[in-house]
Amino acid sequence: MISPNSVRYPEGDPHLSFLMAILEARSVAKVYQTEGSPVTALAGVSLKVEPGQFIALVGRSGCGKSTLLNLCGAMDFPSTGEILIDGQSTSTLTDSQLTHLRRQKVGFIFQSFQLLHTLTAIENVELPLLLAHQPNARQTAAERLRWVEMGELANRYPHQVSGGQQQRIAIARALAHNPRLLLADEPTGNLDTTTGDLVLDLLRRTATQFSVAVIMATHSVESASIVDRVVRMRDGRIGA
């Protein structure tokens, strides 16, 4: 296994990042305009996440977990309130600036893995590096795959590996560009319990070894037991 020290973070000593929250949501609300009445997906949510923290957003389907993740990942704008990623407010950024921000600081993991079925494992992992025009993309991708213990399956296609293996490849891809924030939307939703636990363990290690802030949306209270903090959500609010 690759030591965490070989995964270089360009911003210096990760321990110093404890001085600033990597993510802060300040009274964030999100309202969707539909053909009928407007739908409030989030209503005044505030949240702070430090580097290295593993946070679980727990709640039923439709409580606003995914909406909050999308806002935290700079994929969408809040209707009111503010999202700051590494101190930078997303509301004031243009689309290309948001893209740049995601490239540098945010990684995504999805319930259905979302690997490109027409690319091999290593080609999937190096994709964000290529999009960011980073050099040595293949080498870096190979290192990430070895870290998630998928190095030997680098040339396999997604349909040739199991669901758990696909999710590990997806984690390698999410970490390829050394993000500071990892957002996981129901990462174990399509996995059996044993495999799901392995993936959760991997996410735990990611947060601890690389000081990456991990926010995981889940409706499973059991899967939340491995995290540092559980944030319960209901009807678009954080609460009991």
Binding site: S66, M75, S96, R102, H117, T118, L127
Partner: protein, 838 residues
């Protein structure tokens, strides 16, 4: 009823949910069918009018007697005295230009006094006599828009004369020929056409009881051996036979658009199958049979075929108007004078168009439909596995591809079958199919070896586009095949036309050595040879600065059932004979006896070699002429038999000329000679061309004749590009999660757009390169096999680099532009919604 309901829900509804893609595919099918229908209708119209004017004027005729250079009018009296109840009508046939301008119309001389012709019935005999007594009375067809009593100037041969419009011909229902014709009494016609004492034909109606062949033999026994006796319509059949090779080649070109459309239908149905794998699994689990599944997808193809064909019929009928104009001028220039008959969308034409469209679409859809039938109900094949299998299959299919290419090569060497280059057509089809089958392997290899280079030259987005191309091999190879086919057709026809053009240009350099050329005014045609008075040549020859005047006289003839031209010439010093022939020996012997030189098309059509004999009915007997040489000629496909002028005059003693070539002495003032010539021809309708003007005019005619082929190429390219636009749109929609994911992974909107455009650009680039290589191979077959077997011409191979570059650039640009809307669609999708789709 339940079948219709299922068809509506499972097939129609999904198609209607994607109106743009469905419309693009429909239009591509419609355009392919439209082109086939348009060419068919235009060909029928161009070939359908040869006989109409004569038949409708004179009524039904059974036999026609004629002879090269005309019949002696005494023959009429001789035949009338035979103890058989023949009804014999004399006829003069020529052409006249109204006011000396525009296309020539048939000028017919009939015995209006001796013969009852319904068109010219007048109740009042005095009125009839008065009409005939008017100065140069003529009757005109209604389309000439002349009023009775008006004076009209007609150019016949080299003389423009005034005529009085005695009447307008009464149109008969269903007949069109008499609408565009001029009729005069036969005496006047003989006078103004310079055929005094001669007749062009005797039209014979036979008595009832015996067969046409019986009476033909009776007549043949009572006329000189140089007189032909043929059933009515034989000339028409000859013209149609001559045109058949031209029409067949156009038809085959039009089928290319259908072939391109077939690739696109294959792709469309394949996309349908891939998208609906889950549905197929569910249906099979619910009890649908394999046959039901296969028929369902064939029904989708049938929908496209029927709807597209219906639209194609309407579009084809409209396109036929333009096609007739283009084809008509080609027929006129290269083959025979004719006015196209009205375009008629007959049941036969419509049925042919629809049948071709339907069969083409169903055959194209067969493979994916059968594949769909064998999707296992529980098997949830990811698209990646399907594409992975497509890549694996390509390793086997390459061997079939090589086999097809080899078979195509072998077939291209086979001779014509009944005068048609059928083996060569099949060879073309096999080369196209073999190349299409090889494309997945080519794309894979290109992707493997070019990835680093592409990335270095064009960036990451281009490399990702190339990777996408390879990753979606099952689909992209079909699109590449479609565009490659269209490009190959463009390139092959372009090279063929360019080679022809260059060959003609070089030939003119060798052939056209005179300083001035003269011919009678009016429009020219391959089968019309109006004449100029002999005195013109005599007077020009007497000018002090004129070195020589070459007189040329041509007569249309029939040889072995095909139209040809018999001519007499004076000098062939500039004639380019086939390799191995001794030009100076030929030219020395040629005027000394009954010798001939023949053009290459004539020699190829009639299998004539040097030393062979050409037998022609002239001056009362069959005359044999030994062929001394075969020369290259590109002026007409009809073919020439050329005798020395003095030899021709022996048998056909008419000293008028069809055209003159004036050679000046070195260093003289050409402008002054031109002025002198103008003075000589004053008062006569004769055109004078400088050498450069003639060449320019010839090249213009050449370019005009190939406009129809350029139009067909443009249609094939349009079909391909439209199909690709639709297919790219489908691909973008199917890969929407992929593009949404790229946005999550840090791709900006410009990057996503660039990836899609690069993918289209690489598809265009590959298609262009493979298409150019395939097109070059096809052009060899076109030039050295199909053209040779169809028309008898030899071309020198020539690369029209400028034309190829510009055509391929247009194709490339169109392909990239076709990706703009799909890229726009991809960017319009909300990545958050897409990624969370079920």
């Amino acid at each position: 009823m339940s079948t219709l309901r299922l068809f509506s829900r499972l097939i129609l509804r999904p198609l209607l949910r994607e109106p743009i893609r469905t419309a693009l595919t429909l239009f591509a099918v419609a355009l392919g069918v439209a082109v086939v229908v348009a060419i068919d209708l235009a060909g029928q119209a161009a070939a359908g009018s040869f006989h109409s004017s004569i038949e409708s004027l004179t009524g039904k005729t059974d036999l026609i007697t004629s002879s090269t250079g005309g019949l002696n009018e005494h023959l009429l009296a001789e035949l009338s005295q035979l103890p058989y109840p023949f009804d014999i009508a004399p006829r003069i046939e020529d052409f006249a230009s109204v006011e000396g301008k525009g296309e020539a119309v048939p000028f017919i001389g009939l015995d209006l006094i001796g013969h009852h012709i319904a068109q010219f019935d007048e109740q009042n005999p005095e009125q009839a006599a008065m009409l005939l007594a008017a100065p140069n009375p003529v009757w005109v067809g209604s389309r000439l828009r002349l009023q009775p009593g008006a004076t009209v100037h007609l150019l016949i041969n080299d003389v423009l004369r005034p005529y009085t419009v005695a009447g307008v011909l009464k149109p008969q229902p269903g007949e069109i020929g008499e609408q565009n014709v001029i009729v005069a009494d036969i005496g006047l016609a003989q006078l103004v056409t310079g055929k005094t004492g001669k007749l062009d034909t005797l039209d014979v109606r036979i008595p009832a009881g015996e067969s046409i062949e019986h009476w033909r033999q009776v007549l043949a026994a009572n006329v000189p051996t140089s007189v032909d006796v043929e059933p009515q319509g034989a000339r028409t059949d000859e013209n149609r036979k001559m045109l058949s090779a031209f029409r067949w080649n156009l038809r085959v070109l039009s089928y290319i658009a259908l072939v391109v459309g077939a690739f696109l239908i294959y792709n469309t149905i394949s996309v349908s199958v891939v998208r609906r794998r889950n549905e197929i699994g569910v249906l099979r689990a619910l009890g649908a049979t394999r046959g039901f599944i296969a028929v369902g997808f064939l029904a989708e193809a049938l929908f496209f075929a029927l709807a597209g064909s219906a639209a194609g019929l309407v579009l084809g009928r409209l396109m036929a108007i333009g096609a007739v104009a283009l084809i008509g001028r080609t027929v006129q220039s290269l083959y025979v004078s004719s006015e196209p008959s009205p375009i008629q969308l007959t049941f036969e034409s419509a049925a042919t168009g629809v049948t071709l469209g339907v069969v083409n679409s169903l055959l194209a859809a067969l493979a994916p439909a059968v594949e769909a039938a064998y999707v296992a109900p529980v098997e949830a094949m990811a698209r990646g596995r399907e594409e992975y299998n497509a890549a694996r299959r390509s390793r086997t299919i390459i061997w079939y591809a090589l086999l097809m290419l080899a078979a195509g090569g072998v077939l291209s060497q086979l001779p014509a079958f009944h005068g048609q280059p059928l083996a060569a057509y099949l060879a073309v089809l096999l080369l196209i199919a073999g190349t299409a089958a090889a494309i997945p392997t080519i794309v894979s290899l290109f992707s493997r070896f070019a990835t680093h280079g592409i990335q270095r030259l064009f960036g990451t987005e281009a490399m990702l586009g190339l990777r996408s191309l390879r990753a979606s091999l099952g689909r992209t190879s079909v699109l590449t095949a479609a565009l490659t086919t269209a490009v190959a057709m463009t390139a092959s026809v372009g090279i063929m036309v360019g080679s022809f053009r260059e060959t003609v240009a070089v030939w003119m350099d060798n052939q056209l050595k005179a300083d001035f050329y003269l011919r009678p005014a009016g429009s020219s045609s391959a089968d019309r040879h109006p004449t100029m008075a002999a005195s013109i040549a005599d007077r020009i020859a007497q000018l002090p600065d004129v070195a020589a005047v070459d007189r040329f006289r041509a007569y249309p003839i029939s040889y072995q059932g095909l139209p040809a031209t018999l001519a007499g010439g004076e000098s062939t010093t500039s004639t380019h004979f086939l390799p191995g022939e001794n030009a100076s020996a030929i030219l020395r012997a040629w005027p000394t006896g009954d010798y001939a030189v023949v053009s290459e098309p004539f020699a190829n059509k009639h299998n004539i070699k040097v030393g062979g004999i050409v037998t022609l009915p002239l001056a009362g007997a069959k005359r044999s002429f030994k062929v001394l040489g075969i020369y290259y000629d590109y002026s007409t496909e009809r073919g020439y038999v050329i005798l020395a002028r003095r030899t021709l005059l022996k048998y056909l003693p008419d000293t008028a000329s069809s055209n003159l070539a004036v050679i000046l002495k070195p260093g003289v003032d050409a402008a002054a000679i031109r002025q002198a010539i103008d003075n000589i021809i004053a008062g006569r309708a004769v055109l004078v061309f400088a050498n450069s003007d003639l060449r320019r005019g010839a090249i213009e005619i050449f370019d005009r004749t190939f406009r129809i082929t350029y139009a067909l190429e443009a249609v094939a390219i349009s079909v391909a590009v439209m199909g690709i636009a639709g297919a790219l749109l489908a691909m973008v929609i199917d890969r929407r999660r992929e593009f949404a994911l790229l946005r999550f992974l840090g791709a900006g909107q410009p990057q996503v757009r660039a990836i899609i455009l690069c993918e289209a650009g690489l598809l265009g680039l590959l298609s262009n390169v493979i298409g150019l290589i395939l097109g070059s191979a096809l052009s060899l077959i076109l030039i050295f096999v199909i053209n040779k077997q169809s028309f008898g011409w030899t071309f020198q191979f020539h690369w029209p680099v400028g034309m190829l570059l510009s055509a391929l650039s247009v194709v490339y640009a169109a392909t990239v532009l076709a990706a703009l809307y799909p890229a726009h669609t991809a960017l319009r999708m909300n990545p958050i919604e897409v990624i969370h789709e079920a």
